[in-house]
């Protein structure tokens, strides 16, 4: 009975694809505007740098998208990022091998993610409050790591330089390594969310947690997985930020939880849970990064930059909401019609 759709129709029938396409359209429009304002913006070299600057937003956006799709929010992302940067930098400055430093930072971050899952998934704390707590604690740990000081430079010899090259400065096939890392991580989490059982469970508890539980879904385990993905992404972003600056900054990652929300939401992820595509986060993160660097290229003063970015983000999401509302009212009528038929 079911009609065979051609690939194009099937693509357009994916739920939530419209928001993603809107976001990518936004990326293109912004690229065009900024290229006109300053022709240097679209030069190959600045494009390469631009791609690299998308990566941090992309990574934290992926994490926040996972958590948002379960119907929760993770406010601890920025602090976990800072913790990752500070722990790894402090240990490297004190002579640890980068691998050891990274491992310790990894464990600390994942533990935070697990605690988030425990608070929200097991003890049913409102996610806003639960992760507000871990956000504050993790920032405290970041400050404590080097005795309330930023660290010295991790240096540029041997392993330390290799660390910086692998994560930030080096290139593979002409493209910065950070971009490759972002893409690989994205691909892995895209696969998990779209094609695996855990991914299905994440959507299900975001859509209707009671129905999911009665269908045999382990709500605690699923919530925890989402928070640990988020923590992992923040951890990785922390390493990259640290590689970039070459030192541990106690305020690293400040406000990144909100940038993450922006990347996810601009990309079409619903903060209410149950819907969103990870492809959209690429567009969402790009919009954010393009605005930052595009406005710099256009010589807009910092204060105005913030105001403009704020306005554009609200406009992006507002546009999407209005578009969806328009669709809903016609859909409602159609639904009624289908029922009648």
């Amino acid at each position: 009975m079911q009609k065979k759709l051609n690939p194009m129709q099937r693509f357009l029938a994916i739920r939530g694809i419209a928001s993603v396409l809107t976001a990518f359209a936004g990326v293109i429009v912004l690229m065009i505007i900024f290229s006109i304002l300053n022709p240097n913006f679209a030069k190959p070299n600045s494009l390469l740098t631009l791609m690299r600057s998308v990566v941090p937003f992309l990574l934290v956006g992926i994490g926040q998208a996972y958590v948002c799709i379960t119907g929760n929010i993770d406010l601890s992302i920025g602090s976990v990022l800072g913790m990752s940067a500070m722990i790894s930098a402090t240990m490297m400055c004190n002579g640890s091998h980068p691998l050891v430093a990274v491992l310790v930072a990894f464990l600390a971050c994942m533990f935070t993610g697990f605690i988030n899952g425990l608070l929200v998934g097991k003890f049913k704390l409102p996610p806003f409050i639960g992760t507000l707590g871990t956000m504050t604690i993790a920032r405290g740990v970041a400050q404590l790591a080097n005795g309330n000081y930023n660290t010295d430079n991790i240096g540029s010899e041997g392993a330390a330089q290799m660390y910086k090259d692998i994560l930030y400065y080096g290139k593979t096939l002409g493209i910065y390594n950070g971009v490759w890392i972002g893409l690989i991580v994205w691909a892995i989490f895209f696969y998990i969310l779209t094609f695996t059982r855990s991914g299905r469970h994440i959507y299900a508890i975001g859509s209707n947690v009671d129905a999911a539980r009665l269908s045999g879904v382990n709500v605690f385990a699923t919530t925890t997985k989402a928070y640990m993905v988020s923590a992992f992404c923040a951890f990785l972003t922390g390493l990259i930020t640290m590689a970039q600056s070459g030192m541990g900054d106690m305020s690293a990652g400040m406000s990144y939880e909100m940038y993450a929300v922006a990347a996810a939401v601009i990309g079409g992820v619903s903060t209410l849970g149950g819907s969103g595509l990870l492809v959209g986060v690429i567009a969402g993160a790009s919009v954010w990064a393009i605005l930052q660097s595009g406005l710099t290229f256009a010589n807009v003063p910092v204060a105005f930059r913030n105001i403009i970015i704020g306005l554009i983000v609200v406009a992006c999401v507002l546009f999407d909401v209005l578009r969806r509302d328009g669709k809903k009212s016609s859909k409602k009528a159609k639904k009624e019609a289908v029922k009648v038929a």
Partner: protein, 500 residues
Amino acid sequence: MSEYAVSMEHITKTFPGVKALDDVQLHLRAGEVMALLGENGAGKSTLMKILSGVYTRDSGSIEIFGHKVEGDLNTKQAQELGVAIIHQELNMCQHLSVSANMFLGREILKGGRMDTAEMNRQAREQLAKLGIHDLDPNTTVGDLTVGRQQMVEIAKALLINAKVLVMDEPSSALSNAEIEEMFRIVRELRSQGCAIVYISHRLQELHHIVDSVTIMRDGHYITEGKFTDFTMEQIIANMVGHEITNQFPRDTVPRGKKVLEVKHLRAGRMVKDVSFDAYEGEVLGFSGLVGAGRTETMRAIFGADPKDGGEIILDGKKLTIHNPADAIRQGIVLAPEDRKKDGLCTKLSIRSNIALPNLDLICAKLGTVLRGKENKMIEKGKSSLTIKMSSAEVDAGSLSGGNQQKVVVAKWLARDSRVVIFDEPTRGIDVAAKVEIYEIINQLKKNGVVVIIVSSELPEVMGISDRILVMCNGRITGEVDPRGTTEEEIMTYATRFGSN
């Protein structure tokens, strides 16, 4: 001036692609309760939405109390003409008080401040007119039972001088006692000269209050007349377009071996001491009043709520069930009472919903969902249940009630379970879909599955089960054979509150 309070003639309404109403008429007299009947999707709601101004008609005429409606009717006009709808889902601010809800948007002010005393007084007066004297207008609405909330909604409608009341499935969420009270109020309103449109799928309750009927099918007007002029068979035949010879098909299968044994189950305040056995080839019905602990018993068996004690034995093996996942894995599944709240992820596709509890069957070792196996599962569910849908990718929430229920059932048919529990399997779905659900239950029974049904509709539980257990106050108080019992006998057991 016509003899009717409301008369609608030649109403036509088209939605993109579909004619929802085609030349429909409706005549309602003051001081009369009219049942508007039809299957889900017959156009009842669309017609009522036109009457209340939510939708505008394409053509046709509407006259309300002699006032001919020119042009489009909007909700405000309809309200001024005295039309009010009591919705199936109550529209109440749960955190506000009774009088605050009744006066919402029309608060009485005195010197710029809200005159709470006056609003309470008027609220009390209005409730008293409905014969409700024991409801304090300061009570928070969320603390009231659903039945009481409905009373408040009716009182609210009367406060703005509603003369035409449309009640959409008012009895579906009420207990028997609450239904009695609701009927009393409807009769009271009728004697005061209100005209009432009563929409319900519970045909058995109509004779208590209904004076006339109007029947619709597929967007067409079929017939109208005095209720007493129709037999129940005629009404059903008019609704579905063909005769349903057997409203409750029940196949008899020889009773097999004992499959499920529940011993001294205790859970929370509602399940005090429940023991029963269930056998292969039987449908075991659970009857009782709302609040007797039936749903809670089933939820405890399924692991949805924690147990305080007792044993569950399946095929001679004692089970440990801490959560629904344990129960599902060991062969006990539950189709819950509240589809929207507990049964479906309405924002996800039909595909995801059917696959959700069965991902263990269709996943590769590392957790990748195997598309081919999944498609096969969806196909099987779709064909064995005749779910009407354009594709498996549409939101489950966009289906009609009957089709949503079929998706819930399809979820559980996809795996071989030993015990399938249905809690209120046919609430709010139409006659034809009900029969389809019963057929599925029969099929399960033939396949040797134990089917347990919890239902508040006595005719249903008597019509479909092979054995009925009656619960009261957290205990099983009686066992009856549905073929040789009466509603009275079941009610006797259902009200046997004892000290023990």
